[in-house]
């Protein structure tokens, strides 16, 4: 039996398919797999081996990247369950959430224009807290309730938050240089 390059990432890493994950174990398996498949381990072998090594190492890195971060892991679980989390296909976000988003965004914009580094860092910190609370909801909806439509909604909210965090990062970087 051959190991399928296309098998899902949870299977590839020998981990149960669920949201809660042992991050230390994930990293340990990542290192173990790369120790076998990484191009550095195959540099002295024929081209066929090198090519395959690159495909595998790429796949293993992609799997690690997907499973490591809570948001991308949740998105991936939903994708495996056939639930679409795309923003463009679903804009039915709750009015409160959209209002909240606007308030955040305005605060970020104000701090950016006024070049208030501390305020931006403060906002970043508060968003981080907020994201943590929302992530805690995900575990309950995905692993216990298995309520995928609700989870997809939470994922979309987290995507907004992450985007906002990136905007703050970019603003901070621009102010520093």
């Amino acid at each position: 039996m051959s190991i399928d390059l296309q098998q899902d990432y949870f299977a590839l890493f020998g981990l149960p398919r669920r949201y809660r994950i042992d991050e230390a174990a994930l990293e340990a398996v990542w290192h173990k797999l790369q120790a076998e498949v990484h191009p550095d381990r195959h540099a002295h072998l024929p081209d066929a081996d090198k090519r395959r090594s690159m495909q595998w190492a790429t796949r293993v890195n992609e799997g690690f990247r997907t499973l490591r971060k809570p948001l991308s892991r949740a998105q991936y679980l939903l994708e495996l369950a056939g639930v679409d989390t795309g923003l463009e296909t679903n804009t039915a976000m709750s009015p409160e959430f959209l209002m909240e988003q606007m308030e955040w965004r305005e605060a970020v914009e104000e701090a950016r224009v006024a070049a208030q580094v501390e305020e931006l860092e403060q906002l970043h910190h508060r968003l981080q807290q907020h994201a943590r609370e929302v992530l805690a909801e995900l575990e309950a909806t995905l692993d216990q309730a298995r309520d995928y439509p609700a989870a997809a909604d939470t994922v979309r909210r987290l995507m907004f938050i992450e985007k906002l965090q990136h905007e703050i990062d970019d603003a901070l970087e621009a102010l520093e240089s």
């Binding site: 398996v29 076998e36 191009p39 072998l45 081209d47 395959r52 595998w56």
Partner: protein, 622 residues
Amino acid sequence: MALLQIAEPGLSAEPHKHRLAVGIDLGTTNSLVATVRNGIAVCLADESGRTMLPSAVRYLADGGIVVGSAALQAQALDPRNTVVSVKRFMGRGLKDVAHIEAVPYDFEDAPGMVRLRTVQGPKTPVEVSAEILRPLRLRAEASLGGELTGAVITVPAYFDDAQRQATKDAATLAGINVLRLLNEPTAAAVAYGLDNAAEGVYAVYDLGGGTFDLSILKLSRGVFEVLSTNGDAALGGDDFDHRLFCWMLDKACISPPDAADARRLQMKAREVKELLTSCEQAPVKVKLSSGEEIDLVITRDDFAEMTRHLVQKTLAPVRKALRDAGLTVEDIKGVVMVGGATRMPHIQRAVAEYFRQEPLTNLDPDKVVALGAAMQANVLAGNRADEDDWLLLDVIPLSLGLETMGGLVERVVPRNSTLPIARAQEFTTFKDGQTAMAFHVVQGERELVSDCRSLARFELRGIPPMVAGAARIRVTFQVDADGLLSVSAREMSSGVEASVLVKPSYGLSDDEIAGMLRAGVEHAGDDMQARALREQQVEAGRVVEATEQALAKDGQLLNEQERAEIEAAIARLRELARGQDHRAIKTGIDALARATDEFAARRMDNSIRAALAGQKVDEIEV
């Protein structure tokens, strides 16, 4: 009846044959070559006992080429034909070159990369770098007593795709098989980490002659994982010299100096900078071509003051790298200092202040990169010993993206992604019946295409005509372990094959490189045919050896017929390798590669299964 096997003389499969491999630090100011001897990495010296080769090349009117100290000594006499700090021009256009007024070369702008007009005609920075690499290769071959299997060449971590490709081409031109391009701070971390059995998160602060890198690595149980890297590919010790140079011009009221005086003053600036590392003050005495003499004194504090902004400039990448890694200075266990420029006391002070700890200076900042590269080369060449069970996981320093409507960049591969990596993005047509699509690949962190580096432009043709927005064009970026990109595009919705694969070029095409290679070989008096034959024979030997080792180790994965097919391909290749036709040998190598493709797949599966063995799902759940 099974026949006994007897190995071909010269193509035998010795199981523990030591392959000759080296690490080369191709520096802005100095270059070094190192190898692992009896398990210990050492820098190789020239016949005068010097390990550092000044990265200086002088082109003589009679066609001769001088490299190293002798070239350096001639730089004031013959500034236009003596090239120093060529690394600053690798993969760079004229507009990218800083302080162009202070550089005494006769530049010729060319698409992608500048050329320098010398008495031997225009030279690309790739050719100049190859002249530096060649004597290092010869030094290694003389010292190790044989042809090299290959070399690991180091590059600044913050080098972009064009600079990396240019470096790889320079090595090829110097007759070196590149095993891997390795980031300089990563090489230093390997040398430091392996020597000190270090564990934890470390920062590597690498200020070379012309480049600055800051990498953050996590060292745990033999894995060197780069968490983030940042830097400035045009900031280094040369800039500190330049400040001193400007100070001298200012004090002596000279403007602008002629080429010979410029070189004299630059050499003096470097000397003064080095003197101030150990002395509180230094005399500045220079005799100019006019007969006029400069006679000044500078103190360490004056120097620190006039270069403070340069030191500050290195701290911005430090902050960015920490933020990208999601860490603060408290998380950093040690700071490894690399590059001759980190000897300057005010740099050490600034780093100590920022990280709130004394930096680690117990290793030679000039040699550590070459030593780390040698350790990596040894392992890549297949000389892995049991204690060499370590692994490098490096990242791409700069994001890669595509131009979209309005000159904006759509990021496809984010910076600091672990290599190798592939990312795909789908695009669609803008107009009804559109059959071609133009792509522009860029590298950098800015939102506007004009602020990023352009790597490649290509077109996908043959898209079947459809209404706007119906075609699905999938563009895949693959970045290999050298940090080099290839891009492919394919139309997905129809069965019609429309695909293209490109590798970015920085101005030199594969044909031009091949042309230079031919010219170089002719110049050296070699016979091109003989060289090609020799190369293919060596490659055939290598492939046969690797395949036989694989058969010996994992032969049970094949049935009798499969094994017989591979053995037949080996026998055919051996037969061909005895002949004189290098093209036929190449065909034999390709045929063996095809015959072993499935075998390679099974062996990979096997090793992955072995890695996961005992790793049952319930055991990992904690």
